[in-house]
């Protein structure tokens, strides 16, 4: 009965909300709150002091793979601290837990036939290239290793 009453009361308030006549008092609660009033501490290992060693060979490999320079002390520091950040989940027990690659793993996703469905759009495809020659994209000579 009480619940019914309070529900009706709130329906009334709801219809009036647009007139902004109701000013909610955020300090006043009717029920014992279910919201934890103190932060729930979660234990994660402090990995900030873990020594991260990245040798010159690895750096060069990363640069080749990324085609981006790791050119400053600051960039290297950011890389190291990102690795320390990633190390925080190392201790979590994932024995017998399969990797979750996609949240749609139980869905039948659509496949299409391997058929050409579009075409006749050469000009559109080429128009965003900075350098073209006739109907070709142009690139400098290949098979030359990156200077490092």
């Amino acid at each position: 009965m009480l619940r019914l009453l309070s529900k009706r009361l709130y329906c009334k308030i709801a219809t009036k909300a647009n007139e902004k006549s109701t000013k909610l008092d955020f300090k006043q609660l009717t029920h014992p709150t279910k919201v934890p009033q103190k932060p729930v501490d979660t234990e994660f290992p402090d990995t900030s002091s873990t020594e991260i060693e990245i040798d010159t060979k690895t750096i060069q490999l990363l640069e080749r793979l990324s085609l981006v320079d790791l050119d400053s002390e600051r960039a290297l520091e950011t890389l190291k601290s990102s690795i320390q950040f990633a190390d925080k989940i190392a201790h979590i027990d994932t024995e017998n837990v399969r990797p979750l690659y996609t949240v749609l793993e139980h869905q039948q996703l659509q496949l299409r036939n391997d058929q050409v469905t579009e075409g006749d759009c050469r000009a559109e495809v080429l128009r965003n290239a900075k350098v073209t020659d006739e109907d070709y994209f142009v690139s400098p000579p290949g098979n030359i290793p990156l200077e490092q």
Binding site: T15, A17, P36, S66, K88, L100, V103, N128, I144, E147
Partner: protein, 508 residues
């Protein structure tokens, strides 16, 4: 003040239909307002010619009484990582500064089909990597609720879809499209005091959304009310043959009950205790407690629940984000599209220099870190490990949403969206990008891990006069209940997204 800005989309289109207002006039005013409020830096590009033309056609449809859909004549803005045919799409990066897509993203195509008028493209963090809209080629976006927009005392809009949030909050458009990978729609919605929806993964097509993290990206929706948000969702959702990761079941348009008709007595609300983390402000905590109480007073069953793996989520998110970024960014080489450097010594040299010049430091570091985590010797230890913990995080949600024991089961989770009100730019900019995201994404990115829908709704103003918002989450494809409860809360708190903008009022 344009009076019609206070109206819902439904009322706006009704007033078009009875001739009270004209789409052309509303569009012209919106474009004028956008120019007047240029200081916000919400738009990186306005498209006045196309917009006026679309408005003209819309007006003719109304005159013929042949409206094309529920958004006919409604002004909308699009984040600059959605491809728009013949309109620059830059991701706020030098890399794509000159990129003009030859096609529309499915979301844009569907909006146009529903009659919406696209005003332009909105600002974002470069390639959507950020939580503040401060790392943009075009400079930061400001929050309309700032005490002071001119000095360096202004507040950030949040990110990465800050331009879209700012545009809606400032009344420059009725709705806007953003993207949400770890909270990029809900975070700026929270700071800017508007509704921000992240739909179920796969409900809205990603075709033409320039990818950041394919397994988590979803288009997001900003609006000034839950019902407007539903109107946009109804127009853009559904399977798409151009995106094989859309859910194939046909989409049933949502229809929310009137607020007075909403019955909460069968609704079970969960308060996940781990969402009270370090750094949660007292005002947000008070807001969270009060709304939980309101729901209980409204007849809902409110109980505390535990999602034990939530705290690990931010680390997992960071790993997966960087790995997918390393892979996704590999496409930018300067040959077919995008920035091309002046270096013709070799192909690799050209790639490297184009990328060095085209990407900012945040993008580059994420690529390098991602490739480190993906190295053969690290793959299992970091990438696969993160995917395994991702399953644990997702299973936490399944356990509470699908519990067989009725006592343990909940329909909706209520949490904070962001831990605080919008920070000052100068405070925010003093943190590194990683720390910005680690703090700001804490409550939002778990939903992306699990692919579930989540919405941020504004509740009240803080002492400083800034919006405070909360987040609701629900099980996959449960948008109907999620938004019904959101609209009930909206009715209780009566937050006005257009209130309290001195600058704006003074300028009009």
């Amino acid at each position: 003040m344009r009076r019609h800005l206070q109206w819902s989309i439904k009322k706006l289109t009704a007033s078009y239909a009875d001739g009270q207002l004209s789409p052309r006039r509303v569009t012209e005013q919106a474009l004028e307002d956008a120019l007047r409020l240029k200081t916000l830096n919400a738009f990186v590009r306005l498209t006045p010619e196309q917009a006026i033309q679309q408005a003209q056609v819309s007006e003719e449809r109304y005159q013929r009484k042949q409206q094309s859909g529920s958004l006919d004549g409604v002004t909308i803005a699009i984040k600059d990582n959605f491809c728009t045919r013949d309109v620059h799409t830059t991701c706020a990066s030098r890399m794509l500064q000159d990129f003009v897509p030859p096609y529309d993203a499915t979301v844009c195509a569907k909006l146009k089909k529903a009659g919406a008028i696209i005003l332009g493209k909105t600002n974002m963090d470069q390639f959507a990597m950020g939580a503040g809209t401060v790392d943009s080629l075009y400079g930061p976006t400001k929050n309309i609720w700032s005490e002071d927009l001119d000095q360096d005392n202004w507040r950030i809009a949040g990110g990465s879809s800050g331009g879209s949030a700012s545009a809606v909050a400032a009344g420059l458009c009725y709705a806007a499209i953003g993207s949400d990978t770890g909270g990029s729609t809900r975070n700026p919605a929270s700071y800017c005091g508007v509704v921000g929806l992240k739909p179920t993964y796969g409900l809205v097509s990603r075709h033409g959304l320039i990818p950041l993290v394919n397994s988590m990206d979803v288009p997001g929706i900003f609006a000034r009310s839950v019902s407007d948000c539903v109107a946009v969702l109804n127009a853009v959702a559904g399977p798409d043959r151009l995106d094989s990761t859309t859910i194939r079941d046909p989409f049933t348009r949502l229809k929310l009950p009137e607020i007075g008709q909403i019955d909460l007595s069968t609704v079970r609300i969960g308060i996940p205790k781990e969402y009270h983390c370090q750094g949660l402000s007292a005002e947000v905590l008070e807001t969270w407690s009060k709304v939980a109480d309101l729901l209980e007073c409204g007849g809902a069953c409110v109980q505390q629940v535990s999602l034990p793996n939530t705290a690990a989520s931010i680390f997992v998110y960071s790993i997966l984000n960087q790995c997918e970024v390393a892979s996704n960014m590999a496409r930018y080489d300067g040959i077919e599209y995008g920035h091309r450097a002046e270096d013709e010594r070799s192909t690799e040299q050209l790639y490297a220099l184009s990328r060095a010049e085209g990407f900012n430091e945040v993008v580059k570091t994420r690529i390098l870190t991602g490739n480190f985590l993906l190295l053969r010797k690290n793959y299992e230890h970091y990438f696969e490990k993160a995917l395994r913990v991702r399953r644990l995080i997702a299973e936490d949600f399944v356990k509470v949403f699908e519990a067989s024991d009725k006592e343990d089961h909940v329909d909706i989770l209520l949490t904070p969206t962001t831990l605080t009100e919008a920070p000052l730019y100068k405070d925010f900019a003093s943190l590194t990008n990683r720390d910005q995201c680690a703090v700001q994404d804490f409550c939002t990115q778990p939903a992306n891990m699990a692919g579930i829908p989540a919405v941020s709704i504004p509740i009240r103003l803080s002492q400083a006069g800034l919006p405070l918002s909360l987040q609701l989450m629900s099980n996959s494809l449960n948008e109907q209940l999620l938004l019904t409860v959101a609209s009930w809360i909206e009715g209780q708190v009566g937050f006005d997204s257009l209130e309290n903008r001195q600058e704006y009022k003074a300028s009009l």
